[in-house]
Amino acid sequence: MSAPSSGGASRDGYGKGLLRIAEDPRVVVLEADLGKSTKSCHFRDEYPDRTVSLGIAEQNMMLVAAGMASSGKIPFASTFAIFTERAFEQVRNGIARPGLPVHICGSHGGIHTGTDGSSAQSIEDLAIYRTIPKMTVINPCDDISAEELTSQLLELNGPSYMRTARNKVPRMYEDGSKLRIGSGSVLREGGDLAIISCGVMVGVSISAAEALSSEGISCTVVDMHTIKPLDVELIAKLSESCGAFVTAEDHSVIGGLGGALSEWLSTNTSTPLEMVGVRDNFGQSGGSSELMELMGLNEAGICEAARRAISRK
């Protein structure tokens, strides 16, 4: 792949993705007052008749979406990641249990959200949605992949949760890049270690891999945008070829991408895994990069984890 270009927040990609699939009359968009933030506002501007404003009432929004899905619509319901969690049981019982194709987008996920502070920084969304049967869980790394993955949700005949980020990060993909829900994208190949990452940590993982190469450590970097279902075929292959893993995510180390990988590795292999993520801690207000440094979600954190993983081979 070419060098990353700058300037893509995954929430912008979600907004563009909705416009890309808007031609399908089954697509409806549900908002809970935060359309300007989640970027569903662009769909609202173009298709007001297929946009439903539900006010600051997330629990109602989830079941309205379910009712619409049961009537043949394909609803996309968005709010902040943290506020989707307010309606967790509605998602579990009202959407996932009957297997309705409702696509939930939680924007402003993770510590990267920054100055709003810890109340807005969901660090557990990937974990909780991953525990629900039938749910697909996605965390794209930039605007281009978010747009592509959003458009693919149209064909997914079941519920999904997608986390997007508030702030811009370096682009990992170019327009027209091929990626598929459920298949990890290998962005860089190396034989000593595999860094499996998602969301805003994918770019950081690429930087870490470059730094590690100067130490003679050759890394594969995977954008594991789909956390569930996990691409275990790719993980199995990399377990053979690399023999050590690091996961990197802007999320708690409990239950997210690291949790998913450790569940599979510990029951199928003896391959070592080190996790970079939020260490069971809440964030605080601050700039994105300041907070990521503070929490160890940075190049140095990944490099240290890589050395530990390799030493355990």
Binding site: D49, L54, Q59, L63, G67, M68, Q90, N93, G94, P98
Partner: protein, 295 residues
């Protein structure tokens, strides 16, 4: 007594016109009362067989449901998935025996189906479930969610320019859930004139009487304050129920709520107004008495 013009089968069909009695449709109230009696027999038999379930709230709700299914709900018994059917959203999903008894009496479920209630692999799950039972439009079991789901169905019908109507049955206890009022607010805001709610106001919830647990007060007034049109009715008087359902169907200005004053356990003397039979099945002797009273 009014002369019968349509059989239930005729009303519940894709070819039925959009009925209300004001159009001159005639129904036989005694036929509806007989259907409700047969449903009550099903309810006590299936909960007795399962040794569990919720007979009290099923018996309080059943007359309202028969009035709706028996007079206006367009629903094809031979094709329960017909996409333009009216929807009946049973939000108080623990009263599943009432739902199954209706579907049994209409020929969608058979005797073996309902007598398998709550057993492994049964199409009659403990709480109503749209994935398990033909003719069930909503997977309930967690209270407070059905009105929102019904609103989603109603908004979709409007987007599709379909005249299908959405009926939602709520328990009075579940109006303690805040989500009910989120949905009430949104239904009026979006002018969901195809949405009808009927509240089974039996005044008893799981643990005890509502005025002991958490009395909500005037439910109708609360819906009115959100912009709904509301009527109250005796939820066990079939003629009044037929009239109020007919009235609801003739209203086309915004959402409509009916508060049906009911008696928990209605029709079985020892269950009536008795909180113990919210979630307890009759034993052998109690079944014998119930069947005698319902004969």
């Amino acid at each position: 007594m009014v002369k019968q013009k349509f059989s239930l089968k005729t009303i519940n069909s894709p070819d039925a016109p959009l009925l209300h009695m004001g159009d001159g449709t005639e129904v036989d109230v005694s036929e509806l009362e007989e259907m409700a009696r047969r449903c009550r027999v099903d309810i006590v038999k299936m909960t007795h067989a399962a040794k569990s379930g919720h007979p009290g709230g099923s018996l309080s709700a059943i007359d309202c449901m028969v009035a709706i299914y028996g007079t206006c709900l367009r629903f094809d018994t031979s094709n329960p998935d017909w996409e333009d059917r009216d929807r009946f959203i049973m939000s108080k999903g623990h009263a599943s025996p009432a739902m199954y008894s209706i579907l049994h009496q209409m020929g969608v479920l058979d005797e073996d189906d309902i007598m398998g209630f709550r057993t492994l692999g049964s199409v009659c799950q403990g709480h109503v479930d749209m994935n398990w039972t033909k003719g069930v439009d909503f997977s309930a079991g967690s209270l407070g969610m059905g009105l929102s789901f019904g609103l989603g169905c109603a908004l979709s019908a409007k987007m599709d320019s379909s005249d299908r109507r959405i009926w939602v049955m709520l328990g009075d206890g579940e109006t303690q859930e805040g989500q009910i009022w989120e949905a009430a607010m949104a239904a009026n805001y979006h002018n969901a004139s195809n949405l009808r709610v009927i509240v089974d106001r039996n005044r008893i919830q799981n643990d005890d009487f509502m005025d002991v647990q958490m009395e909500i007060g005037d439910i109708g007034e609360k819906f009115r304050s959100f912009g709904w049109t509301v009527k109250e009715v005796d939820g066990h008087d079939m003629s009044s129920l037929v009239d109020v359902v007919d009235w609801a169907n003739s209203e086309d200005e915004g959402p409509v709520a009916i508060v049906a004053n009911t008696i928990k356990g209605n029709g079985v003397s020892y269950m009536e107004n008795n909180p113990s039979f919210h979630g307890k099945a009759p034993d052998d002797e109690e079944l014998r008495i119930a069947l005698e009273e319902l004969s």
